[in-house]
């Protein structure tokens, strides 16, 4: 730190914000050591001007009121670096999309802007220096579990990329640590092996199971059950092989032909061309009778009447029913339930990654994929693993830390962390693994002793920001406080701004990394300070990157509402809402604005692709 006091820079975006806000009043905001108005922060000339001014002011912290475009974010980083102001002592206020563009009355918008600026200033004053970087030194070794084509593809690609694939033949018993430095214990026929690896790529076992059939026999594949299995790759390959290469007469009884994979439609046609008979069944129309080692299959086909076939071998159920290795996901710490094989549904929104950094699932460990898909996933996972496991030194800054003096060793954090980032050993204190932590704040909110702090927004900072936002010039009504999840509500709010859709200036936004970061006290505090409503806007349950955000928020709201009632505040004023980052309409609904602006956005959006395809 090279000085004292907080400096304020306000960007007017080429003067276009001046009519919508009283910029003079904003730069005269109390509590700043120095203030500057600029017109072009995101252009090189503008950011250079801010940098030289900041050096002259010798301030130790900086608030920039501008916009949220990437160029502005980048400019603030560069400016503070050039002027020697620590990054955690800077704050960027989205004055444009978050205020000027969305409020119609200049006096109210100015009042809100003053609150936003004061809130940012309070925040930087309460910020704490980041926890020093920790060095992770991956050895370049990656554990590859499974022997199917996906695992082999992953291993081959890892080797190409300068990593060593550790292929195991045995059962993974234990897996602990963090990305870059995991420890894996494997039980083999010979005993126990231990490996230090930077990442793990896990597939299930090779799925294809060829039924025991002799050449020339009559075979029926019966795909029935609940839910009805579709014909898929392995049934098609088995049927084709038996019909074409073994002289078998093959009948496939099915309801849905699963051909969603490259080359499967061709495989289906080839099987048909090789003499495999495919018969579509409908419910209740099938009868099977066993007689003298043979099976008599009778089928009622609509429009064709009854069909009877006698076969020697009856293969029942899907030959490639979901069969990921039981317990594997659990050992890797990414299972939704005990003993389950499938990852959480959230994992399906990522190509290969899971909620645990450095753990990648491919092929049948992820779901019922085709061989082609498993191979592609294996190669993708190899590339993804490179970022955490390539040999070298990775500096990781801790996004959360435990105050060992306050920690009561209750293990709540260990239990609630969705990313397996909290660890402890006998006789040691709780520790957040920096390469595993994703900064969601779920542990900080759950800790009964308040012993965990999120580096980016420690509790004192969050409370100081909220308090400053709640106290300031009048907004023309009681405020509504919106806690906005960085992954969904923040981008949606920005879109509302870009569309210039106006909502009341009483809406005050507090960005959070995840709704799971919030405690009941955060929800009640604004009510006590006079807020009319408190909204927690975040992801849906299944889309939450931190898995538990919305569910945690619902529980917190329940507690907060009870607390509000006890304090004589409105217990019905706190709500949770889910939305997607691309669904600004839903956010508009929540805030009470109509988002359908007809042609203003309309014409242009359709031109985008017209332009692209021209």
């Amino acid at each position: 730190m090279n000085g004292y006091g907080t400096a304020l820079a306000v960007c007017t975006c080429g003067g276009t914000l001046c009519g919508r806000l009283d910029v003079e009043r904003i730069v005269a905001a109390p509590g700043f050591a120095s203030a500057l108005v600029i017109h072009d922060l995101c252009l090189p000339a503008g950011s250079a001007r801010v940098a030289s001014w900041l050096r002259e002011t010798a301030a130790d912290s900086l608030v920039v009121a501008a916009c949220g475009v990437p160029a502005a974010v980048q400019a603030v980083v560069e400016v503070s670096r050039a002027a020697g102001v620590a990054e955690h002592r800077t704050s960027l206020v989205d004055l444009r999309e978050g205020c000027a563009w969305v409020h119609t009355q200049a006096d109210q918008a100015t009042a809100k802007a003053l609150r936003m600026v004061a809130s940012a200033a309070a925040g930087v004053r309460e910020s704490t220096p980041p926890v020093p970087d920790v060095e992770v030194r991956p050895s370049g070794r990656v554990l590859v579990v499974g022997t199917g084509p996906g695992s082999l593809a992953a291993a081959a690609r890892l080797k190409d990329l300068g990593c060593e694939a550790v292929l195991i033949s045995g059962t993974l018993e234990r897996f602990e640590g963090q990305a870059g430095e995991f420890k894996a214990r494997i039980r083999t026929d010979q005993g126990v092996e231990c490996h230090a690896v930077g990442a793990v790529i896990a597939a299930g076992d090779a799925p294809a199971r060829m039924p025991a059939v002799q050449a020339g026999q009559r075979v029926a594949f019966l795909l029935e059950g609940d839910p009805w299995p579709s014909v898929t790759e392995s049934t098609l390959s088995a049927a084709l092989h038996l019909a074409r290469d073994c002289g078998c007469r093959v009948l496939v009884l099915f309801r849905d032909m699963g051909v969603a994979g490259r080359g499967l439609e061709e495989l289906y046609r080839e099987a048909r061309g090789s003499g495999v008979t495919f018969v579509r069944m409908e419910e209740g129309s099938l009868r099977i009778v066993e007689a003298g080692g043979e099976w008599v299959v009778t089928l009622e086909v609509p429009g064709l009447g009854s069909v009877t076939e006698t076969v020697d071998v009856l293969v029942s159920g899907a030959t490639d029913a979901l069969q990921g290795t039981r317990g594997l996901a659990e050992v890797l710490g990414v299972a939704p339930r005990k003993g389950g094989w499938a990852p959480r549904e959230r994992a399906l929104l990522e190509p290969v990654a899971t909620e645990r950094n450095g753990v990648f699932l491919i092929g049948s460990a992820r779901g019922p994929y085709t061989t082609d898909q498993a191979v592609r996933q294996g190669e993708a996972a190899a590339m993804a693993a490179l970022s955490v496991a390539a040999p070298g030194v990775i500096a990781v800054s801790a996004r959360a830390s435990v105050d060992v003096e306050r920690c009561a060793f209750c293990l709540t954090c260990l239990r609630v962390c969705p990313h397996q980032a909290v660890t402890t050993a006998l006789g040691q204190t709780m520790r957040v693994l920096p390469a595993a932590c994703q900064g969601c704040g779920v542990c900080a909110a759950a800790c009964p002793a308040g012993a965990i702090q999120i580096t980016e927004s420690p509790n004192r900072r969050l409370l100081a920001e909220m308090d400053a936002l709640m106290n300031g010039p009048p907004l023309g009504g009681r405020p509504t406080v919106v806690f906005a999840c960085a992954n969904s509500a923040v981008p949606a709010l920005q879109a509302l701004g870009r569309l210039r859709l106006s909502y009341p200036a009483q809406v005050l936004v507090v960005p959070v990394p995840c709704l799971g970061r919030l405690e009941a006290v955060h929800c009640v505090r604004p009510l006590a300070a006079g807020a009319r409503r408190v909204l927690l806007c975040g992801c849906y349950d299944r889309s939450c990157e931190h898995l538990v955000g919305p569910a945690t928020a619902r529980r917190v709201v329940e507690r907060a509402s009870a607390l509000a009632g006890t304090l004589g505040l409105d217990p019905g004023a706190i709500h949770v809402a889910s939305l997607a980052p691309v669904d600004w309409h839903k956010l508009g609904q929540i805030l009470g604005v109509s988002c359908d602006d007809g042609d203003r956005n309309g014409g242009e959006a359709s031109k985008v692709t017209a332009h692209a395809t021209a």
Partner: protein
């Protein structure tokens, strides 16, 4: 890197993270590809369509992180081999300097004919676009209002096409797909009958206008038909492949419609339900009562006084049936994006057997879902790295 959809963006970022400088050329004005204009299809909970994933991939593109992004840049030709590719790029005039436009919108406020506008509210880059055909100057008028109004001197009224030659060691093609041109199936009435739209239209309409788009589409009664496999699994149309994503997309869209509009009944006409992909089986199993499934694809759509008449063969009962609907949504398949700068392609048009040093990623190699496209980006980045390693 050619194409900045989910696959191209992912590949570019993955390579840049390994210290490889990347030039990302996108022919459109913004990144994100088709997926940038898809709607959220959550009903009561997220339905795992992957639109958020593609939005995240666009959002995390940071300036100055090793990726040089060139929008409005079309690839004319690729010559050379590993370590010495020469890529010829054509720049389409945007009328606005991307590096100077801050998105302030003053130009659009003042333009008398609304010829300049932002691409969309979550566009990257957010720089405005000048529609040179709509501009008064196209009619010979000397209007310079937008240029004078721009505080940053970003409007380029005399922007002309230009060409550029760039050098590259390795080329990644992520040129995506084209939706099947549904109008080719004339008997289904697309482009001819009001009330016949495609899943792409529905995605875009919902994305752009929200639920009100649906109320506008269905002002009165609310009988909706989804016709699957339009331009997929259809040898007669020259498209033998399954496009993989349309069954789940139709079901997710129907699910969202049913939730948004009370009284809406949706019928899905299909050949086979592609329920194998992970996370999709549940969609089919937890079907809301307002969604009906019929095995059989309607042969034609006729405009009748009571609505749109669909005639179809119901396979389950082997009967020929007719039913009236108010809206028909065609679940269009994925076509190849067309010849990519003279690269070889399979009979279906998707890229395959590429020359050494050229890697394909995503839907240009065959239909993929959004999460798969992102995975393809990672895979292609690994393949590109391998080529680079072999050069050094």
């Amino acid at each position: 890197m050619v194409g900045a959809g989910p696959a191209g963006l992912t590949a570019a970022q993955a390579l840049a993270a390994r210290g490889i400088p990347v030039l990302l050329a996108e022919q459109g004005p913004v990144v994100g590809g088709w997926a940038a204009c898809y709607a959220c299809k959550a009903a009561t909970d997220c339905n795992l369509c992957g639109v958020c994933l593609s939005a995240r991939v666009s959002r995390t593109m940071q300036p100055g992180a090793g990726v040089t992004l060139k929008v409005d840049a079309h690839v004319l030709g690729i010559e050379g081999g590993p370590g010495s590719f020469a890529v010829r790029l054509a720049h389409r005039p945007r009328g606005v300097d991307v590096s100077r436009c801050t998105g302030c919108g003053r130009c659009a406020e003042l333009c008398p004919v609304a010829a300049i506008a932002q691409p969309h509210p979550q566009a990257l880059p957010m720089a405005y676009l000048l529609d040179q055909e709509a501009c008064l100057r196209a009619r010979g008028e000397e209007c310079v209002i937008c240029r004078e109004a721009c505080p940053f001197g970003a409007v380029l009224l005399d922007d002309t096409p230009s060409e550029e030659l760039v050098q590259a060691d390795v080329v990644v093609l992520a040129t995506g797909f084209e939706p099947y041109p549904a109008a080719r199936k004339g008997q289904l009435g697309y482009g001819r009958l009001p009330g016949v739209i495609t899943t792409m239209d529905l995605e875009r309409g919902l994305w752009q206008h929200g639920p009100e788009y649906l109320s506008r589409l269905l002002p009165g009664s609310r009988r909706v038909a989804f016709v699957h496999c339009v331009g997929s699994r259809d040898l007669a149309a020259g498209r033998g492949w399954c496009s993989q994503v349309c069954c789940p997309t139709a079901l997710r869209l129907a699910g969202r419609m049913v939730r948004e509009l009370p009284g809406l009944e949706a019928t899905l006409f299909f050949i086979d339900l592609q329920r194998c992909a992970p996370g999709i089986a549940r969609l089919f199993d937890d079907l809301p009562p307002e969604i009906h499934l019929v095995r059989g694809i309607p042969g034609d759509v006729l405009s009748e006084p009571g609505g749109l008449l669909l005639t179809f063969e119901d396979v389950a009962t082997a009967t020929r049936r007719q039913e009236l609907f108010d809206l028909v949504v065609l679940a269009v398949g994925m076509d190849s994006p067309g010849a990519a700068a003279g690269m070889p392609a399979a009979a279906e048009g998707f890229l395959c057997d590429l020359p050494a040093g050229v890697v394909a990623a995503g839907a240009c190699g065959g239909p993929v879902s959004i999460p798969e496209a992102v995975g393809e980006g990672l895979r292609a980045a690994g393949a590109a790295l391998r080529v680079l390693e072999s050069l050094s």
